[in-house]
Structures are given as structure tokens and as C-alpha cells.
Amino acid sequence: MKAVVPEEILINAIAANLDGLKHVAVGASSPIPGAAALLARSRSQGRMRVSILGSEDNNFFSDGGKEIFDVAGQGRMDAFFLSGAQIDGKANVNLVSVGEYQQPKARFPGSFGSGYLYFVVPRVILFRLEHTPRTLVEEVDFISAPGFSDANVYRPGGPHKLITDRCLFDVDKKRKCFRLESIHPGHSVDEIHEQTGFKFDLPEGEIPETSTPNTDILSIIRGEVASEISEIYPAFAARVFGVNSTV
């Protein structure tokens, strides 16, 4: 069997956080979260729905752009993925700009639905492949969506995990901070300290390595999931799985 690639470890780790859910939504341009959602769906015995936002073809909605947000507001969306140009130690997410807001040094597309979905979707999984002090910062320059809220603010949703190309963080909702959960194979805690701009907690005892998918899971990822994801993200599927889309 071909060696496990880092993408497969991420897919496996994310899918473990989706099992048992009824509806997982994935933003556009998110092949790894998308593959993870498809993996979780594959083993849900027909009990999980996956929707892809911002895509004309891969969604099952019929009431216009508002429906996916209405669905989330109704409590019918269990998990969603959020990235950020910057993410800070209080799980704040910045999708807007670096520097002064009215005349920024860098400007990104914008907050999209984050300022809402982060509040109402129970499991928001933060996902950032570039794990550096530039992206994981002490304090974001602009809060598109805050990680935590005061007790009187309606907030059924919020951050559930933060996953990067180096490690997986758990979220401590009481202390309102991240705690290192596992380190991906080939990476070290020293490297993570060095590359993270914010302070984070460590687990008690030894820090586990992020699981490598077993052969059963690998065969689902490389078979069914790779095939399905290649219809949405052909370049990704070709690069990671060597699968060519039939579309």
C-alpha cells in the first residue's frame, strides 16, 4: 500500500470530529474538509448530509443564497469549517484585513458568513494549512468573528477544534483558549511553540501523535472519497490521490 500522505491524516482527523452528525456544511474551495465530510458520510449509514456552499452543483437548496444561513439559524447545521488569514489565541478569526481597517496593508476577500455561522453552528472546525506566526497570531487585526462571547450572548455555536498542517488543537471553552491535542507525524512540540504566535495549553502527560488512518479507512479515502471529491476538486484529487475526474 502507498504510504500515507499528510492530507490523509488531516482528512482522518477531521472526520473523527464529524461522526454522528446529521448535516455537515463545507465552504467553497475546501478540498480537505470536503473529503473529511465525505468520509464521515460514507460511514454514517445514510444518516449524514453534506452540503457544499457557494457551489451551484453540489448543494440541495432551493430558496436562494439565504437558505444555508437560515438552515444554520434553525439549528439544522451541525458542523462547518472556517479558515482565517489570521487566527488568534482566543479563537478570533480575521478574514478582512491586516493593518488599519480603512487603509489596510493587506486586504482579503471579506468575512463571508463567518460573523454569523461561528455563533450558531455547534461544531465550527477551524482549518488553516499554513501554521506560522504570521497566521496564528497573538491578536487578530480585525475580528470577523469572535472565538468566544459573554455569557448573555446567544451562542449555541463556536470553535470545536483548530487543525493545521502541524497539529490539532482542542478548544477549552471555560478558559477560552486552545489546548494542543495531538501532533501530526514528523512534527515536534518545539516546532509548534516556535511557529505559533499565541500561547496555548498543553495536555496532561505525553502529547499524542495524530492518528494515522488504518487500512480500512485508507481504502475508503482512496476509493469512494477520492472519486467523489474529484468531481468537485479535480486538481486536488489528481495531486493527492492520483485520481482523474471522469467529468
Binding site: 467553497a28 474551495s29 457557494g54 457551489s55 451551484e56 437548496f61 432551493s62 430558496d63 436562494g64 443564497g65 439565504k66 444561513f69 437560515d70 439559524g73 478574514l95 478582512v96 484585513s97 481597517y101 480603512q102 487603509q103 489596510p104 496593508k105 486586504r107 482579503f108 476577500p109 471579506g110 468575512s111 463571508f112 458568513g113 463567518s114 460573523g115 454569523y116 455561522l117 461561528y118 455563533f119 450558531v120 480585525f142 475580528i143 470577523s144 468573528a145 469572535p146 462571547s149 459573554d150 448573555n152 450572548v153 446567544y154
Partner: protein, 275 residues
């Protein structure tokens, strides 16, 4: 009741300088042919509203100097990267930015659709989106104790500009599941639309089509425009012209390059202008 049929330049002339102009995202039905006509007539001081995000159409209008204010949840060219003219304008503080979040745009348009002066929305509290929106307020939920919630004032565009695969001579316009375009038409004071084809008969007579059709009641003017979304595509119709879009993004990285694009595709008398 028959619709007012316009040439594309007549349509552009009916969108006044300074208008609050609602536009759909690139993945819906965008009237790029109308955007080019607006650039040709040198529209000024537009306040763009992305429903809920903006793309190539907005980047071009910004580059051409037509825009003062951008109110949107995002400006994105998706796989083509950052929107170059938008980014340059923002960094140069040439446009006023009103950042939003997608559901806030939809909800505020729904308030106008319903004729209510405001609508509440969950989320947003503690964000810098809210901090920078002086037109939004945090208030109380009158049905609960100590439950702050954001109040959004109704968002009423002066004009909604949309594109669609088919329309009819009564001004009925089929948008199918792209119902944010129907919401735009309900919410805006006036709606102008370009359609690939004006078909015979009445779209409302077919119960299947009627479910996805904006009634002519809302439509101030309609222009038949074959490939009116080009260089974008339309879902269920033709694909985007990827080569052209790539060329645009390359050129639009600089002022000079954008001017070259304008000269070649917009300013020069084109076959469109003769329509």
C-alpha cells in the same frame, strides 16, 4: 402588461450616478454586458451592494472609477485570487468599505422586501464587522431578559441589476433557484435585467417555470443580451471564459494593465454599443 424593452446603453442610462446598486455574486447570473455599458457611460459614485458577495463585475466597475462605496460580505474572484482593482482601491483608501456578513445582507434585504424598517439577526456581537457599521445597532430582545441582539436597518437598493437565462415580453424573468435575485428585485426600488433570450408566450403560464420566475411587476426594464454574462458563465447555460478571466486578472494587477483591458474590451466602440 408589456415590459419596457431597452437597448443595453438605455439600460445603463437608467441607472443613475450615485445609485445604491445591488449585484449578485459571480456564481449566480451577472450582467457583465450591463456593467460594460455602465463603464462606457462613465457612471460615477455608485454604492455597490453585494448579495451577498461581489466578484469580477465589481472589480471592473471599481477599476473604471465608477464606485465610491462597497457594501458586501466579500469581494472574491474565487480560484483567480484576490480582486486586483478592489484591493488596490482599498489600500489606496479610494473607496469606502462597509463590510458585512452574508446573512446580514440577505436579512436586511428581506426587511425591505417586507416593508419593515429593521430586522434582528443573531451573531455579530463582539465582531469588528459590527464595530465598524455605524448604521447597525445592538438592542434588546423584547421577549427575553438580558438577550442582546443586532438590529439591522432595512437595506433598500435604488437599483438591482441582474441577468437571467430567459424572460418574456411581459417582463417576467426566470431565475430558478437563484432566488437571491428575486429577493433583490423585491427589495430594490427598480430592477433592470438582461436576459439571454426573450421567449414567446408568458412564463407564468407554465406552473413549473412560474415557481422560479420574478413577476414583471418588479421589472423596470429588460434587454435581450445573448451571452450577457460573458466573460462569466451562467449556471445551466455556458461556462465562464477562463482564458479571458485569467487575462483580466493578469492585466488588472496594474493601473496601466487595467487601462489596456478597458481600451480593448470596454471603451472602444464595440458591437454591443450598436445594439
Amino acid at each position: 402588461m408589456l415590459a419596457t424593452q431597452l437597448t443595453i446603453d438605455q439600460l445603463a442610462s437608467r441607472i443613475p450616478d450615485g445609485a445604491k446598486l445591488a449585484l449578485p455574486p459571480d456564481y449566480a447570473y451577472c450582467s457583465l454586458i450591463a456593467a460594460r455599458a455602465l463603464m462606457r457611460r462613465k457612471a460615477k459614485n455608485l454604492h455597490l451592494v453585494g448579495v451577498p458577495s461581489l466578484g469580477f463585475q465589481a472589480d471592473m466597475l471599481i477599476g473604471a472609477g465608477c464606485v465610491d462605496i462597497v457594501e458586501t460580505a466579500a469581494v472574491t474572484l474565487s480560484e483567480y485570487g484576490l480582486a486586483p482593482r478592489f484591493t488596490a482601491a482599498i489600500k489606496g483608501a479610494k473607496i469606502k468599505m462597509m463590510d458585512a456578513t452574508c446573512p446580514a445582507i440577505h436579512a436586511a434585504l428581506q426587511a425591505s422586501e417586507k416593508g419593515i424598517p429593521f430586522i434582528p439577526l443573531r451573531g455579530l456581537i463582539g465582531s469588528d464587522i459590527l464595530a465598524h457599521r455605524e448604521d447597525w445597532k445592538v438592542g434588546k430582545n423584547p421577549f427575553a431578559e438580558n438577550d442582546p441582539i443586532v438590529y439591522l436597518p432595512a437595506l433598500k437598493p435604488d437599483v438591482a441589476l441582474i441577468h437571467a437565462p430567459v424572460g418574456d415580453k411581459y417582463g417576467n424573468v426566470w431565475v430558478g433557484v437563484r432566488r437571491e435575485q428575486m429577493l433583490m428585485a423585491h427589495a430594490a426600488s427598480e430592477t433592470f435585467v438582461t436576459v439571454e433570450e426573450i421567449v414567446d408566450g408568458n412564463l407564468m403560464d407554465d406552473l413549473k417555470m412560474k415557481a422560479g420566475t420574478i413577476p414583471g411587476l418588479y421589472i423596470s426594464g429588460i434587454t435581450e443580451s445573448d451571452k450577457g454574462a460573458w466573460p462569466l458563465g451562467i449556471p445551466g447555460g455556458y461556462n465562464a471564459d477562463h482564458e479571458h478571466l485569467r487575462r483580466y486578472v493578469d492585466l488588472a494587477q496594474t493601473d496601466e494593465g487595467f487601462q489596456q483591458y478597458m481600451d480593448e474590451f470596454i471603451t472602444e466602440a464595440s458591437s454591443e454599443a450598436a445594439e
